[in-house]
Point group: C3
Chain length 469, copies 3
């Protein structure tokens, strides 16, 4: 009886704690009001969005950065909200949360990222100047948070996720500042700053939030037929628009053009190796949707740093080809080990999609930078490696900086994830108990009319109505 | 027995009247043939789409308006066909009609809008000149019709919808002409011309088409799990591309750039207030998909007029924040009252997503216009407020015009909806009876193989086949 | 008993042959490695993607072709991967394969097409130069392969599809070379090169692969409610972005602008005639999802050749109007005849969507070319009909060339399909037997948890858990 009473108590505490009636409104309203105040104090239109400033100079309209970057921005935006959101709907009972929490934390993160990134590298006379490039950067930072979300998917409350986003965006901006501004690292598509950072941060958080009894929710931690189709919407959008992602903030002209094309071929090659590996590693040769949904994207991650460089098309294909192989092997053999031995419960397998391919991308970037020559880059060197072009450093040193940046990123991500993980353990944030993970019903009104009841009723009723006639 | 006989008679009449075998082909063919004839007589390529005219002058290719606006046009196009179409698939048994009728009436409306808008403000020497800007405007007008469609969703035949579109597009063009041409109102994103007009027109139509026995179809007027996921596709696309919507026809350069950015921040803020309010107004703190799907978009509607102005980023966020709050409150408390007291059966809650946020947007626009100064706008004033820049009116007068335009829009929408509502009551149009609303099976061939039967059979059969082996 | 034994033997052979454990990895890896080698030897960045070359000349950044074509490229990319992929998810048990095999063969084809098209019309000093235009062309060629995939959908293994793609891409490039380079044919949107070619190639392949006992899989060759909604995602994306498809590689300026607009109006008109015809040809006036999903797109196909010409808006609408009518009639009356009499089992009805509308488009193109005058085209003639502008041929001769090109295309497609069909019959490729066509479970791990079980369990469990409390 006392055991039951204890259980009751635990459950009741759980029931109370997962109730978001006050917690979620309070955090949403406080965060948004703080954002509005800080934007009011700190943020201004930049020269290209301000009516007065833009008209002071004698530009042609088509020189406005909007026309160079807005189409890429919208593609990135689709990746963030549709791509990440639907990719995670593969869970059978967690579709509302996957798309819905993705939506919430992305909407918060992009505002907070505008401030944090602006604070670290966008200040002009005490003000943060914003335009389409800062919007892309804010979406990029948001992407990193969503990668971490993938690691803890199904096991966190929306309040926890907002708190995680608050800290992760801040640390992202710090790491980005160290790499891009202090060290002069090149990482246009964010193999390091976005993917490696987001993955290892999230993996450390999920390690700290380790749930020993998670197997009680195991039956919900899988897909059903139609949930895998919804997830493919996310996959395909990520795949298609990754060329825009990697090229969105590179220099105008040949750089954007080349980056998009390198990524296009990297992804295509990655898809073939993913399909091959998926069939090869299955005992009956059947393709596994988990691999197709994730590993086929690794080529985009791995081309994130070197994509803007003169990687050559076949070089891009080699990178993508390897990324697909590594990623499938990770899903098949490494993830179970990480879970069992290291207690890392990585719901979406972000280590395989963003972690290892991110590291691969960083290494490829370092090597490609180290072998850069004036003969290959010509006057384009100043766009891709400004420090090399200006003579500040030589190419091999640039390569060394790239490699060091990977170490810095890993360090900040792991340490940050450690600290934030412990913060998220506070019971006040309303995490679900181990028995009700991967379940929309905790945080969402879910219709009690279910598919299997409504549909037959549906078609039985209609003849019924007619038969009355 | 005689009661049964009467019922039988009614039902039989219904059965006859909802049959679209002749009605739909007749109206489709007649409308399209009229469109083709009128296009043949009235419509010409404009200077930027005509092979001869474009090459007469010495332009650079990149000066063609196509490159300034086509990416935005395609985003708007996605909002019209995917956004509106899938947003309405939340109903459990009305997915075919939601996407399919949306598709039909949009395809008609954009052609008819080209003529009506061209007639009122696109004539050059007796001909309507068309290009990408007229295509965007036609899509905008179509959006207004689709908003009204949301109010009557599930209760109308496709023929009724085409007739409604025919009249609504015409009245839309009249209202737009009065505002933009006669009064000199600024409304680039259409808070008034598109959202307020479409919402109140549709609300009046659904009021006139009031169905006292609609509760007989109540069990179908709700969502199921996967239909809410389909609806989220619509929501997210509308949310992502709203910056393109509001900026699609603003002036080139800083104006498009600023409008897109203002809308981006308005929507982000709106999302946080929506989530907060949704949890706050639920007795158990659970999020309601209806709010997330709709209210999170109100920030785009509310930034429709002032988005192109120097609203400032934090001003945009305040507007979005308020719009989300108003919209959730509307869904929670106002809609039931409107239905019970005013007999307005608003299926999608367009009053909460387009009506009230549209009015908010109009008011914000009027205030922002009234406080415009040369100090803030500089030479950019001529793009945003040409009448103020030219000295024709002063800023506060422009603000007054903006406010008056809201009243004009409401008047024309309500009066128009009243008249069109009565026209739509004609039994010849084949509306469904009260018992079979929200039901695809009336107008679509629906497979009798249902999900719940096919899927288990599916997986049982496969082993079965193998076991034969 | 011996009959049973024979059956057993056949089935076992089937079971072995559909196992992809080695076949798929081998073909994927070999193809990709060959691609990488050939890219390494033959492919180079073109002047607009090469860092050194681009900076050699004194351009403005906005003159880079990337800004003219990349937004259109991304729209085409969406059509290829989401459009074609989801259009084919209408089958109840073949969603994974529809999206997944579409993904695989498209990722292969676009790489192979880069080489084949480059070899035939992109060589510069022994090297293939690539950039955004070659990427669009590669996607176009891929589209043709996916059309053929639609004809054989559900009846082929992924290995067969890759082999088909290998040959079809090659023949596509040959046909394209004959038309565009040797004959000087105009076909920017590919009514002939893409749609007619892909359709008749696929129809011949499916004819050769005729399965007399396919009716044993008949119960799976149909849609269920939600699979039709997934398919509508594909349809709507194809419809929306077809203006980008047809205009993606036309000349800069008025040409891209006009082509997009012509296609927009052609599609709108096509939608109305499709809805009308669908209701008219149903005995009960109910709309058929097959027509809406397919025939409404015929207007895009039919505007593929003449779209860039001075077709006029009303001319475009007439073309679209006719295309919709032809296409619905094809689905309703011709497809059953083709299957019964000619033994052409055309799963997606590509003859109705791509075959006949492609021929219509070719004819419209020939007529429009034949009547072209300097009075209408002015100096724009050199963009649309360079051979006419240069005086090499006159307009009526150009029209004759266009017509001849249709015949050439049909010849190469049918002959090519014949040969490739016989190659695909080799049992080593692992085609499914007649009893297990249209079935994901052959080639994919499909979760045994099914919708109808998981959902009720889901909602029953939750109260259960709470009631324990």
């Amino acid at each position: 009886v006392s055991a039951l009473r204890t259980l009751l108590g635990v459950c009741e505490r759980d029931r109370v704690s997962t109730n978001m009636r006050l917690k979620l409104p309070i955090i949403c309203f406080i965060l948004e009001i703080i954002l509005i105040i800080l934007f009011g104090v700190l943020v201004q239109y930049n020269e290209e969005t301000d009516a007065k400033e833009w008209h002071k100079k004698n530009h042609s309209d088509y020189e406005n950065d909007f026309y160079y970057r807005y189409p890429s921005f919208q593609d990135v935006h689709v990746m963030i909200f549709i791509g990440f959101g639907f990719l995670m709907t593969f869970l059978q009972r967690y579709g509302f949360s996957s798309v819905g929490f993705n939506f919430l934390i992305a909407a918060f993160s992009l505002q907070w990222a505008t401030l944090m990134q602006g604070f670290f590298h966008g200040m002009h006379g005490g003000k943060i100047h914003i335009g389409v490039e800062s919007m892309i950067n804010a979406d990029f930072c948001t992407g990193s948070v969503l990668i971490s979300f993938g690691a803890v998917l199904g096991k966190t409350s929306p309040v926890q996720l907002l708190v995680m986003a608050l800290f992760e965006v801040t640390l992202f901006a710090v790491n980005e500042f160290i790499l891009l501004t202090l060290l002069g690292t090149r990482d246009a598509g964010g193999s390091m700053t976005i993917h490696t950072f987001g993955a290892y941060f999230g993996l450390m958080v999920t390690r700290i939030l380790y749930r020993p009894n998670l197997d009680k929710s195991k039956h919900r931690n899988s897909s059903v037929y139609h949930s895998d189709l919804f997830a493919m919407i996310g996959t395909i959008y990520l795949w298609m628009f990754w060329p825009s992602f990697n090229s969105a903030i590179t220099a105008h002209g040949d750089d954007q053009h080349r980056t998009a094309m390198n990524t296009y071929y990297s992804l295509a090659a990655c898809t073939l190796s993913t399909y091959g590996m998926s069939a090869l590693t299955a005992h009956d040769g059947k393709l596994d949707m988990v691999h197709i949904q994730n590993a086929a994207l690794a080529g985009g991650v791995a081309a994130g740093t070197a994509g803007e460089m003169m990687l050559t098309p076949y070089g891009s294909m080699i990178v993508g080809f390897l990324a697909g192989i590594i990623s499938v092997l990770g899903f098949k053999y490494l993830s179970p080990i990480l879970e069992e031995k290291l207690k890392i419960q990585d719901t979406c397998g972000v280590h395989n999609l963003h972690g290892m391919p991110g590291i691969l991308g960083a290494i490829v970037g370092a090597v490609t930078a180290a072998v850069a020559t004036a003969d290959v880059y010509g006057d384009g060197m100043k766009d891709v490696f400004p420090d090399v072009a200006s003579g500040k450093v030589d190419a091999s040193y640039q390569g060394g900086i790239q490699a060091a940046s990977l170490a810095v990123t890993l360090g900040i991500a792991l340490l940050g994830g450690l600290i934030v993980g412990f913060i998220l353990k506070l019971p006040v944030f309303g995490a679900p108990s181990d028995t009700i993970c991967y379940e929309d019903n905790i945080y969402w009104e879910v219709s009690l009319t279910v598919v299997s009841e409504s549909f037959p009723t549906h078609f039985q009723e209609i003849p019924g109505e007619n038969s009355v006639i």
